[in-house]
């Protein structure tokens, strides 16, 4: 994989200057490559990385397994697109799994809120055969970052 992508994934605030130094490429090349990644939809944008467990009133998150009947022609795509439209839905992934097809992350104000959304909005879609809802209790690691309080550097000063 291109190291430029993994560096930007780790920290989007890295400047072109810094990236150019680290990757030993000219600043022009780095700029050009970033532009190309944006055009081709590899780089979609920048967001702030939030630890929701530390945000007051941030609500609840649930993972919903959906068993779905694939449609003629479109397979799972059309259903997935439809589900993606809900603002309550954070992620939608097609899985290679034993007993379900789509894994959907839903965020809501309360457990009840999420449960209602699932039963009224998702379970009622014709192609959805069944749902299983799992509520998230605690986040330990997200996007490659450990969220538990950082351990102090235990290395001592040595020459």
């Amino acid at each position: 994989m291109d190291k430029l992508i993994s560096l930007l994934y780790e920290d989007s605030s890295l400047s072109v200057e810094e990236l150019s130094a680290m990757l030993n490429e000219s600043e022009e090349d780095i700029k050009k490559r970033i532009e190309e990644y944006k055009k081709s939809g590899v780089i979609l944008g920048k967001k702030t990385f939030i630890n929701w467990d530390k945000v007051e009133n941030s609500g609840v998150t649930a993972l919903i397994e959906l068993k779905v009947t694939p449609q003629k022609e479109t397979g799972f795509d059309e259903i997935a697109a439809r589900i993606s439209e809900f603002t309550e839905v954070d992620t939608v992934h097609l899985m290679a799994a034993d007993n379900y097809d789509l894994l959907v992350t839903v965020r809501g104000k309360s457990i009840q809120d999420v449960a209602m959304f699932v039963s009224r909005r998702l379970a009622t879609i014709d192609a959805v055969q069944s749902t299983a809802t799992h509520f998230l209790l605690k986040r330990y690691k997200e996007n490659g970052v450990e969220l538990t309080d950082e351990e102090k550097d235990q290395r001592s000063m040595m020459l």
């Binding site: 190291k3 560096l7 780790e10 920290d11 890295l14 200057e17 810094e18 150019s20 130094a21 680290m22 990757l23 030993n24 550097d153 290395r155 001592s156 000063m157 040595m158 020459l159």
Partner: protein, 391 residues
């Protein structure tokens, strides 16, 4: 009252306590200090290596090992030097497993140096060679490497310092603190001088795997005719992120290794058993780990050199180890002043170059054995510090 000073061995009295401790104490007391001062990897030992150590403990393998180290480990070390640096050593007679590279250095100096013998030490360098020479009753002869030579030892400098008392030359490359490396052509130059003299070389190759140039590390023992004059010191600390396991080794002529083994046998018995099991795994299956860490260090190295240069420091490009050694003379401060003020005013710890010998004056050692985010924050503060100085 007993006067302990009087009782002490005269050689230990010659060794002065390091002035750098004071500075470290300030840094250690500070709560929010951002350090760029450590001399060890930020990576933890690769999991499969730790697992091998754990497994040996689970199986209750908690006894001494043979004095020289496990035969399997010695044979893997021998394979490793052949595989990566093209030098062949007999696992049977030319390999000794030690407690870190440090012990191997100590054994080599103690086995060779008699009172009055001169030991050539290129500085700036790691801090142990000079005191260990003194402890053996030897005379340290310092050779100051220069920024204009990219901190390499030159044949002319070497020739100039050789006398009929010279016993040993320390060759500490890739170098801590400068990050300098000696490439094949530079080593050839040194070898050319040594062919005329009866001098042993202690080649401290502990940073051999952390070499960022186009050419891989060249062991001094690989240079024609030099193997019989060289004791190579290496270990697991830097290449496999295993500092706390305390495991290193010496490679050299059978006669010398045999004598070093005698000292080791009486002083130490054998290197830590658990660490030896882990090290076997590291050598068998750890080449990929080395590469992963090396390429990560390389990114940080480039980031640091370019940032220091952009700030206006004269910063020679280090091709080895994990330090940069920028020149701070244009700030008008001494190394000590620079570091003391930087830690007091911006809570950033870097090490004064003088900790590595007087010739380090005007320089500071900055370690990049930290995450990129950590390095960026520290660099930002150093930039602010510079602006404050200029006011």
């Amino acid at each position: 009252m007993i006067n302990y000073e009087e009782l002490l061995n005269e050689n230990i009295r010659k060794v002065k306590p390091s002035g750098i401790r004071k500075f470290f104490d300030i840094a250690n007391e500070m709560e929010d200090v951002i350090s760029l001062s450590v001399g060890e990897p930020d990576f933890t030992t690769p999991w499969h290596v730790r697992a091998a150590g754990i497994e040996s403990l689970e199986k209750g393998r908690t006894w001494y090992t043979p004095n020289r180290g496990f035969a399997e480990l010695r044979s893997e070390i021998s394979n490793y030097y052949k595989r990566r640096f093209n030098v062949e050593y007999s696992a049977e007679k030319e390999v000794l497993v030690t407690v870190g590279g440090s012990e191997a250095i100590d054994l080599c100096i103690r086995s060779l140096v008699s009172p009055g013998d001169e030991v050539l030490i290129p500085q700036p360098c790691f801090v142990c060679y000079e005191p260990m020479t003194c402890l053996a009753g030897g005379v340290p002869v310092i050779i100051e490497t220069k920024a204009e030579d990219e901190f390499r030892l030159t044949p002319e400098q070497l020739e100039e310092k050789i006398t009929d008392k010279t016993k040993l030359l320390i060759l500490p490359f890739p170098n801590n603190p400068t990050g300098a490396v000696m490439k094949r052509e530079h080593l050839e130059g040194i070898a050319e001088v040594l062919r005329k003299h009866n001098i042993i070389v202690l080649s401290d190759e502990i940073y051999a795997e952390l070499n960022y140039g186009e050419e891989r590390h060249v062991s001094f023992a690989e240079i024609e005719g030099m193997k019989e004059k060289t004791v190579v010191v290496n270990g697991f600390s830097k290449s496999y992120a295993m500092t706390g396991w305390r495991l290193g080794y010496a490679l050299g002529p059978a006669e010398l290794i045999a004598k070093m083994t005698i000292v080791h046998q009486y002083a130490i018995m054998s290197a830590p058993t658990t660490a030896q099991y882990a090290a076997i795994e590291a050598l068998k299956n750890g080449d990929e780990d080395i590469e992963k860490m090396r390429s990560e260090y390389d990114l940080r190295r480039r980031l640091m050199v370019s940032s220091f240069r952009r700030m206006g420091f004269d910063c020679f490009e280090p091709e080895g180890a994990f330090y940069v050694f920028p020149c701070i003379k244009n700030t008008g401060l001494t190394s000590d002043e620079f570091c003391s003020r930087l830690i007091r005013e911006k809570h950033v710890a870097v090490v004064p170059g003088t900790a590595f010998g007087e010739s380090g004056e005007g320089y500071v050692r900055v370690s990049y054995s930290y995450s990129i985010a950590h390095i960026r924050e520290a660099l930002k503060r150093i930039q602010e510090f510079l602006e404050d100085i200029k006011k």
